[in-house]
Symmetry: C2
Subunit: 460 residues, 2 copies
């Protein structure tokens, strides 16, 4: 009966094509949901396997995540493809057979939204990780070692830059601009990787941990300044000293702001949140502050994660500190993993293939850069002047990983077309090597150390 | 010195345009970070204000979220624009002045990634909400009231559909196909809204709560079946009975699977996770199961959130139940808010404007649909046969909100072009009205009820 009723409506045919559009839209959403779910599953399962292996042989979980990224990323199965390359066709076929959505639509889903979403998880993850690092920090301790941190940062910034720049220009006859980019990439320190390893080992609150943290923050700021300077050189042919100085002043003001807010704002803010009737307001308040500080940092040209760290620092003297740390650990547990896996997934090991000529040159340059990268940062540890005994090797080792910051420099250099392939390969290999080397090295140097290890409970 | 060095390189000029590309890419990322941060801040602050107001006048926080969505969505400030319409130009200018990124690039950022990311948060939020609802459910209680839930679901599905379809065709002389879509939209129940309100009130574990939950799940499955049937009618002009039956069988198998997994798999799975050395493995294991069940549900044509609910149910008899609930609450607290605000933000109140002729007709049809929507669902509550005293009015009221499910029906109908404007307006108004009405109504009927209120601690 219904059938004949419907057929009598008459305009069924005219609307069919419009429905097709609607159903195609439906297919996009369906394919997206399944694509995110399966990519997420692959990410979680692979990192579970390699974290477990890392735990059993006594290596840090971060290394397990990085290797998981190699396995599912552009060097391996092509399941998590965040930049460059195509997603594994078998994986696309699997989603096609589950959803019956057109292959083309599934490819579109992977090209756009899936990348956007996993990049966003990764950024959120490292942001919340830095927020908890800020929460776990003690402002007084950080300020107490401020001078030592500054010395470590300046030496760990200047030495690799100078050695790298003059080594490349004088020994390898590399042109000035690529040598500048390579030098800049050598200055970077990945605060995320070192902080996560130290947090897992419970040495974040040791004197060494606080010096590394402070130095990594200063290093990040110096890195942003050098990047701005190099870009102004490429753009205008001139060094914009004014811009560099104003960036340093802005960064210093931001740190001052965080210190003042820690003293005069954090506890007041939490008390105000407490007064609200809505039961969720305290946690929401903290997250609002995290977003706000990240936006401020991003707006004034700093990295957003420095804002997240500052927000954690502001709340680190409040009575909810421990609760905030515990609650954030749920997000860190899931999302920081995405961040570390994503670093591994973007790592292209095919540049190790020596049958490509640029790779052979790159390997030689990489060997040089790696030596400079390690010597420069390890030396910086010895500038942590202190009357107390501190493990200076551990401090220098903590500064070694270039991680995501190094990749930003390499990526920006490559995108400008300024870098010859061999230098590009050399920088990327240096970033990979220092990033993968640092977690196991850190474990060794902290284990053999006289540092005051404060055991923090492991989060599950 | 460096300047002259650089100028002597010579190929500075040729690389400038390439650098512009790189910097533009950088600008996109920067604009995206700030856009997400500021949109997130607007969302959190607005919902904080309206949740607080709701808490002070004794209304559910969900209503506060929905109203916050009206304020920042397409009916208000145009800050959170997930479908249709343009983002507020002042908001775009603000981001431009903070980032110095081109206005066009910022618009692109809002058109693509920002929508994708907030939609994703919303979906993740409702998924994890349903996961905790599953965790808090007691399988035995659910099965005990299974027959009552089925009765409530069938009546609450059939009655509004029949009343709506024949009312529209006979009284309003609406054509068959639009009347079918309107009837189908009347059958929906938003499990998310009712579950959140009941969870906040601590009545989720009452007999009424479990009946509503069971009925809403069955209703969801019936809704998917009717949608598939209507689409096959529009596509082929025939009712595909086989497809409808196979969908019901698949859904029944999935529910059976969840029941069996609850009995034989959940505790074993948790014990295996416990054995792993990696400290994060238990929480990760739970999240992996959540993703897996969602993907399975999505693949067999069910809603992903039913899979999330099933995953919660599977883990609800394990010893980690309380820990999982507590940990998930952090994610729910942030992300379910995004979900409810997003529903409000998509609500277009301009269709209330009576100066548009289709709106006047729509208002009359809406009035009819709203009456049918409420009568149909409230009546269904009386079919919860029970020897014990149960609050049947509360059960029926719990089924009233159409929420996101109703919007899916309306959206699909509108996209087909099958719906005349007045019917489209009528359906949307019905969805809005029932969605906004249900939270305060639920609070009234449960307060005046004889239901066994089990107080659960509020999560912060």
């Amino acid at each position: 009966m219904l059938q004949s009723l419907l057929l009598s409506v008459g305009w069924l045919n005219s609307s069919t094509s419009l429905l097709a559009v609607a159903i195609e839209g439906e297919g996009f959403g369906k394919a997206l949901a399944i694509a995110i779910g399966l990519t997420g599953l692959a990410l979680l399962l692979t990192s579970a396997v390699f974290e477990e292996l890392a735990a059993r042989v006594g290596l840090p979980s971060v290394l397990g995540n990085l290797i998981a990224g190699l396995v599912i990323g552009i060097s391996g199965l092509h399941i998590l493809v965040l930049e460059g390359g195509e997603v594994n066709t078998s994986f696309i076929s699997l989603i096609h057979s589950l959803t019956h959505v057109d292959l083309e639509v599934i490819k579109e889903v992977f090209d756009g939204p899936v990348k956007t979403i996993f990049e966003n998880y990764a950024e959120l993850g490292v942001g919340i990780l830095l927020f908890t690092i800020g929460l776990e920090s003690d402002l007084e301790d950080l300020l107490k070692v401020g001078l030592q941190s500054a010395m470590v940062a300046i030496v760990g910034f200047g030495l690799p830059f100078v050695l790298g720049f003059f080594g490349l220009t004088l020994l390898f006859h590399v042109a000035t601009l690529p040598a500048l980019f390579a030098g800049a990439a050598l200055t970077a320190t990945s605060i995320g990787i070192t902080a996560q390893v130290m947090q897992d080992m419970g040495v974040l609150k040791s004197k060494e941990g606080q010096i590394i943290l402070g130095a990594a923050i200063i290093d990040d700021i110096l890195g942003i300044v050098i990047l701005a300077v190099i870009i102004s050189i490429v753009e205008t042919g001139k060094i914009d000293v004014g811009n560099g100085i104003s960036l340093i002043l802005i960064a210093a003001s931001f740190i001052m702001l965080a210190v003042l807010m820690n003293q005069f704002f954090g506890s007041w803010f939490v008390e105000q949140s407490e007064k609200l009737k809505s039961p969720k307001s305290i946690g929401r308040g903290a997250f609002t502050l995290l977003l706000l500080m990240s936006v401020i940092a991003g707006s004034i040209g700093l990295e957003s994660i420095l804002g997240a760290f500052a927000a954690g620092l502001v709340l680190s003297s409040t009575k909810y500190k421990e609760i905030f740390i515990e609650r954030s650990s749920v997000l860190v547990n899931l999302l920081a993993t995405v961040f570390f896996v994503s670093i591994g997934s973007k790592t292209d090991l095919s540049i190790l293939n020596p049958s490509v000529p640029a790779n052979r040159e790159g390997l030689i340059i990489a060997a040089f850069l790696i030596v400079v990268a390690i010597i420069g940062k390890v030396t910086s540890g010895f500038f942590a002047f202190s009357e107390e005994k501190v493990n200076r090797i551990a401090i220098g080792t903590g500064m070694i990983p270039r991680g995501e910051v190094g990749l930003v420099f390499a990526g920006l250099g490559a995108a400008t077309g300024v870098l010859p392939p061999s230098i590009d390969v050399g920088i990327i290999l240096m970033v990979i090597f220092t990033t993968f080397l640092a977690p196991p090295l850190l474990r060794i140097v902290f284990k053999s150390s006289e540092s005051t290890v404060v055991e923090t409970p492991e989060v599950s």
